[in-house]
Point group: C2
Chain length 355, copies 2
């Protein structure tokens, strides 16, 4: 059972709660906007559904809701930001916008962030760039190990997402936004909810063996890297998770989840953002036209089964946006109840009903 709520109300509800948690008006606005991107584009796990996680981190004193981020390094094409333990959306948005400004001037720029937190959907940042007709990339590490290296029996990386977006003229942008695990924890929860076994290759038990039991997998919280099993090249997903870790954590000087000091109050998460202005390579619009042409060719791929057409990366997000921007965001009852409780606890207004 999921009620549809207009996205403006969902975003206003998030803003209200962030304000009640002590955020500045501007930081509350920016953070709610990044969540709104996810809800509007069908990335349900990374929109308003993040509030319970953020409430828990707040209760643990992990998040500074009045951060004063500092730019530690700043050149024509790179910057390093210390996020002062604020939520990742605040510093992440600032970092991506800074990378975009620099890329407009120089053609190419990168901004690294340390001492940050969860930043929501990586795609939200990459799409900021694509909407400004730049190529955007966003990477993030996490504080909570979940991905197990090939042949291992303990996790060594967070789900380490990466996103890449590129403008495509009149077409919706190319958008690619994925965790480097085979699936997200959410898929394990869904399987448990429906009483279905897991696909072999999604998750491992505590000994590092493949398990198809969602209860076992949710207990171990051990996900495989993309590929799933060694025979299906899980070493590639493993390397990809490590690549994201190096860019996010090692370039910024943030903490690596597998070796971080567990007594540290701050989660010290790192991110990395890259922006490229395609017109420095091709001044006459050839880039966007060629991306659009590729997307058309992909959509026109002969399907294996006619009832399941081939989609271009970004199509599912664009479809969700077309639906949800008109019909609202589907909010399951349990989530509604959780958000109501969070709003009530911090004395924020309740805006999700009576629309």
């Amino acid at each position: 059972m999921a009620k549809r709520v207009p996205s403006a109300a969902v975003t206003a509800q998030c803003r209200e709660i962030f304000r009640a948690w002590g955020m500045s008006t501007e930081h509350a606005r920016v953070t709610a906007e990044r969540l709104e991107y996810a809800d509007l584009h069908g990335v349900d796990s990374h929109g308003i559904a993040l509030l319970p996680l953020y409430a828990r981190l707040r209760a643990e004193g992990r998040i500074n809701f009045r951060p004063e981020a500092r730019i530690m390094r700043d050149t024509a094409v790179i910057a390093l930001i210390d996020a002062d333990a604020g939520l990742g959306q605040v510093a992440g948005t600032r970092a991506m916008l800074l990378a975009m400004d620099k890329a407009r001037a120089a053609g190419l720029a990168a901004v690294a962030v340390r001492n940050s937190n969860h930043f929501g959907a990586a795609g939200a940042y990459a799409m900021l760039a694509a909407e400004a007709r730049l190529v955007g990339m966003a990477f993030s590490a996490a504080w909570d190990p979940a991905i197990v290296p090939t042949h291992g029996a303990e996790p060594r990386f967070g789900t380490n997402p990466l996103a890449f977006a590129a403008p495509a003229g009149e077409s919706p942008p190319f958008c690619f936004d994925v965790a480097t695990s085979t699936v997200a924890i959410g898929k394990l929860r869904l399987a448990q909810l429906h009483g279905r076994p897991l696909e072999p290759g999604w998750a491992l038990d505590r000994t590092g063996a493949v398990t198809t039991d969602p209860r076992v997998a949710l207990e171990s919280r051990m996900l495989t890297p993309l590929g799933g099993t060694p025979r299906l090249s899980s070493h590639k997903g493993y390397g990809l998770a490590a690549l994201v870790e190096i860019l996010s954590t090692m370039l910024s000087g943030a903490s690596y989840c597998a070796t971080r000091d567990r007594n540290l109050q701050q989660l010290d998460v790192g991110h990395f953002f890259l922006a490229i202005d395609p017109t420095v390579f091709r001044p006459n619009g050839g880039f966007e036209a060629d991306v659009a042409g590729m997307l058309s060719a992909l959509r026109g791929t002969r399907p294996a089964r006619p009832e399941e057409p081939v989609l271009a990366p970004g199509d599912p997000e664009a479809r969700a946006f077309a639906d949800r921007s008109v019909n609202g965001i589907p909010l399951p009852e349990t989530l509604m109840a959780q958000v109501r409780e969070i709003a009530s606890a911090c004395r924020a207004g309740w805006l999700l009903e009576g629309q």
Copy 2:
């Protein structure tokens, strides 16, 4: 049966043949060096074993052995090179070295290449950067569609490799060098040779259905994107292949394999190279120390089975190097025979025997 031949002889043999094919001394040297990297680091498919492919492309008139590459755009942090239909190793090496020079000066740089050819192992370029204490990334498209989009029944991308390397102080560099298909064509050939079925999820038949018959798969030449099947998130490998295509083909203005003019003599392959100087973010060596620390943590991961320890990305390559730089490159008899024939046909000296 594979004879071991000193790598200096293997590299000299490649140089001889490239010279006999009309390459300048300098271009022959550079191209042989990139092949040498692959042979020394265990990437057998991308070393001297490429000569039969290059001989075929030469016979078809696809390669210009006296290319005069031109720099079409050149700023402080980007460049675009037209490779004049030369082998990819020539323009690729020049592009990576140029990106490295610019990154040393500015912190970050990218070079795109169009009108190129097969460039060998992507890792060879990324490692040029890592050996110079920079972070390096290399991407390439291909002219020959092989990867089938999720739910599709025809290929739309080459095996679109990407490589990432990072210096790690006294440790061998982090090195990640993969095709974005689940496996390479070589694995299908190996299965056929040994009369073994394919792993379900490696390859598709002409209708887009999973096949485990190596003969069928080698006929269709339809590989799955990393992930293998939709249930194991092949859409992620699909998006990754598209990401590589956008960077390599669309930024440079090269031809996209799925829509290229089949009458074109030139293969017009595109590449993309990125270099980052980590000291612009962290001037005091913290980056290399942290990468080394991560690699140690990965190697120290509790293994699922004690007899199969967890490796860090780059370890297999470093092990192959330690062995092969001392004991030589293993060359199977069939490959020896093929190279002998190629050398004889172009009247190049024969250097692989009598060492």
